[in-house]
């Protein structure tokens, strides 16, 4: 998993909770990186799961809520860090459609060894999008948070319904529909 996920996660904990919270979840965690992350590095994805788990225990908040919240935060960071993916895009459907066909292709050019999830879009019904998430890692919650972040970014009134396709969070179907 790319280092930016870890640096952004710790930055969010630092920001939303406190610097002491960062130290608490790192302290006593068994991390091969030792918790020293750089955005350009690559780390074991299980480390983020452990960090989320520890934060959940410290805060009494459900891990899925924490991850979803982190997804929303992360999307905001993408908007700031990668503005080139947002030019000429005015709505969430258009942006979400471009993840597999454009954004991930560009990512792979920079990081040939990156393991990326797939986002399949079905727009056969007008005003609705069915987005299927599939990954080798259990980050359906993160995907949901990112989708929320995206919808919020474009300021659209969309209802998001999630249907899990695997019990471990490696696959889920999201239905995005205009709010009635």
């Amino acid at each position: 998993m790319k280092g930016i996920v870890f640096t952004e996660f710790l930055a969010m904990v630092d920001d939303r909770f406190s610097p002491a919270m960062v130290e608490r979840i790192l302290d006593g965690a068994t991390l091969s990186s030792g918790g020293a992350y750089t955005a350009v590095g690559t780390y074991d994805y299980r480390e983020i799961l452990e960090l989320v788990g520890r934060l959940s225990r410290e805060t009494d908040l459900a891990p899925s809520d924490l991850v979803r919240a982190f997804g929303e935060h992360l999307f905001g960071r993408f908007v700031v860090g990668y503005p080139q993916f947002f030019t000429d895009v005015d709505d969430a459907f258009t942006f979400l459609q471009r993840i597999d066909g454009y954004i991930h292709i560009e990512v792979r050019k920079l990081y040939p060894d990156a393991e990326l999830p797939r986002f399949e879009c079905d727009l056969s019904q007008p005003g609705r999008m069915v987005l299927t998430y599939r990954s080798s890692r259990p980050f359906a919650d993160l995907a949901e948070g990112l989708i929320l972040g995206c919808v919020n970014h474009f300021g659209e009134a969309l209802d998001i319904t999630r249907e899990d396709m695997a019990p471990d969070g490696t696959a889920a179907r999201f239905l995005l529909a205009a709010r009635a």
């Binding site: 960062v22 790192l26 020293a36």
Partner: protein, 584 residues
């Protein structure tokens, strides 16, 4: 946890993270460097590949250029070969045709129809072969870009009439009706009359050939267009027609509508290809419309203004009159030394004698009685008179007396022809000879030749023995005395020994050729006035014509002329030149 401790830990993590980032940056830099190296190497490889490709292409281009030059050389050599071959073939072929004609005349008199038939076949086959050779020569000249157009005014209606008149006998033989529609404003055009005639002749000839018991119509019109006037000659027939597939192959060389056409209708298949190319050289074209079993329409369009070259063909424009004769006094029509006045009241006898004599090269004026004879003799001043004795009104004796009593006419030899054997009376009254009917043809000819012998000697300079033989036979029968030379050197010796009254000259000869002979001849003041007629099977270039300009009376190209035409031409010109040279 103390704030300081938090900061210390954070600083420691940041330090580790920075070091990790630096390591990653180092690795990426190395990767980039290697990628760059790899790229440079690939660029170099591609560059050398491209260079090799380019060298290969250059070599291919050089090969292609060499192949093209070789092909052009080969094409030129082929055209040159064809032109030479045509000449080499035409010379003996002319001799074969000439000899066949001579034999045919001799054999006709023997009355052996099998021999006549066989000789006629030889003659026809020879003529056909000659026309094929002419076609091939034409085509090779067009391909070699050596077409020369003789440009002059052409009266279109006359040209059409001329072509129709030539084709009419064949058309009638095949039961075809010929219709000519010539618009009133057709007028004239500027062009090469021979080529235009040849092309139209081909179209009309084909129409007649491929139509039986139908009609062939020729429409001539003048089209007024923004780029000038055009002449349109459309030849429409009701013949066998063609399928679109046949039409697509029509203008190819050696191609007829299909192979079976060649077997059935004959011909080389070159005519149309030549005609179209000639028309294109002249700035026009030939198009065709046709339906099988309905008929075909061939349309020839030519600009009325002087043609310019096209299709990459070099065209030399030459005024037809550029070959100027040495000098020629006007109005030389004096008494003809070969005209015989035939006087007989029996039309059968008149016709018979007229036929004999005409065939032997005499011109004949026949009259039915003494009164007409005395009238015409003053007008025509014949070389001799054959006179019947037993005639109503004025009889032969009275006419003979009248002639001999007139100082102006008394010198004309008179041959009495009668069934009454009164030789002594005849001779005593001044008859040159006396023949008893039925007249022995050979005897009559012998007598007439003796009386009408030409006054001059002709030197024939020709290396081909067979051609010399044909010329000798033909010219001697016309009453000329012949001297022969097989090349220019011998000819100059002959001229030195005794200058002839005229010279018939071939151009291509071993040792001293025609051009050198002419140069030698014109160098001597006293030989300068001897008229020279060039008879050649050679294709003359512009340079050749220039060399002959002003040096010779006339150029006759073998193969382009009928033998009779050729002899008439030679006789007329030689006679004219001799008469001129004898004038004070």
């Amino acid at each position: 946890m103390e704030e300081l401790e938090i900061l210390r830990r954070r600083l420691e993590r940041e330090k580790l993270a920075r070091q990790a980032a630096e390591r990653i940056a180092e690795e990426k830099t190395l990767e980039l460097f290697q990628a760059n190296q790899g790229l440079e190497q690939r660029v170099q490889e591609r560059t050398s590949e491209l260079l090799a490709e380019r060298n290969k292409l250059d070599a291919t281009l050089r090969d292609l250029a060499a192949a093209r030059d070789a092909a052009l050389d080969a094409s030129r050599a082929k055209s040159q070969f064809l032109a030479n071959m045509s000449h080499e073939l035409r010379t003996p072929l002319n001799a074969i045709i000439g000899l066949a004609e001579i034999l045919l005349e001799d054999v006709s008199d023997l009355g052996d129809p099998t021999m006549v038939e066989a000789l006629e076949r030889v003659h026809r086959a020879g003529r056909h072969l000659l026309s094929i050779i002419s076609d091939i020569l034409d085509l090779s000249k067009i391909e070699a870009g050596r077409v020369e157009l003789e440009v002059g005014p052409i009266a279109v209606a006359d040209l059409v009439e001329d072509v129709v008149a030539t084709v009419r006998p064949l058309a009638e033989q095949r039961g075809n009706r010929i219709v000519v529609q010539c618009s009133e404003d057709i007028g004239s055009m500027t062009g090469d009359a021979i080529r235009v005639r040849q092309s139209l002749m081909n179209l009309v000839g084909n129409a007649v050939k491929f139509t039986e018991n139908g009609s062939v119509s020729i429409r001539a019109a003048r089209l007024r267009k923004p780029d000038g006037d055009w002449i349109e000659l459309a030849v429409q027939d009701t013949g066998i027609g063609m399928t679109p597939e046949q039409m697509s192959r029509l203008f190819g060389d050696f191609v007829q509508a299909d192979a079976s056409t060649t077997r059935k209708y004959g011909g080389t298949g070159l005519g149309l290809a030549i005609s179209r190319r000639l028309c294109r050289v002249m700035g026009g074209d030939i198009t065709v419309e046709s339906l099988p079993d309905v008929g075909s329409t061939f349309t020839m369009r030519l600009p009325t203004s002087a043609p310019v070259g096209s299709e990459g063909v070099a065209v030399v424009l030459r005024e037809p009159a550029s070959l100027k004769p040495v000098s020629r006094a006007p109005g030389l029509a004096g008494p003809s030394s070969r005209t015989v006045l035939v006087v007989d009241d029996d039309p059968t006898v008149r016709a018979l004698i007229e036929r004999y004599l005409t065939r032997e090269g005499f011109s004949v004026v026949a009259v039915p009685g003494g009164v007409q004879a005395l009238q015409r003799v003053r007008e025509i001043r014949p070389a001799a008179i054959t006179l019947d004795v037993m005639m109503p009104e004025l009889d032969g004796w009275t006419v003979l007396a009248a002639l001999k009593g007139d100082p102006e006419l008394s010198s004309i030899p008179v041959i009495m022809m009668t069934i009454v054997d009164e030789k002594q009376r005849g001779y005593s009254l001044g008859a040159a000879d006396y023949l008893v009917k039925p007249v022995d043809r050979d005897r009559l000819l012998h007598v007439l030749r003796g009386l009408c012998s030409r006054p001059g000697r002709i030197l024939v300079v020709e290396d081909d023995e067979a051609t010399r033989f044909v010329l000798r036979r033909s010219l001697e029968r016309e009453g000329w005395t012949l001297v022969e030379a097989e090349n220019g050197r011998v000819a100059l010796e002959q001229v030195a020994a005794e200058p002839p009254q005229a010279i018939v000259l071939d151009l291509m000869m071993p040792e001293v050729d025609g051009f050198e002979f002419l140069a030698g001849l014109r160098r001597r003041e006293e030989w300068r006035s001897i008229p020279v007629l060039v008879v050649t099977a050679m294709e003359l270039s512009e340079a050749d014509r220039h060399r002959l300009d002003g040096q010779v009376e006339r150029i006759i190209q073998k193969g382009a002329y009928e033998r009779d035409d050729l002899l008439r031409e030679i006789s007329a010109i030689v006679a004219e030149c001799i008469e001129r040279s004898e004038r004070p």
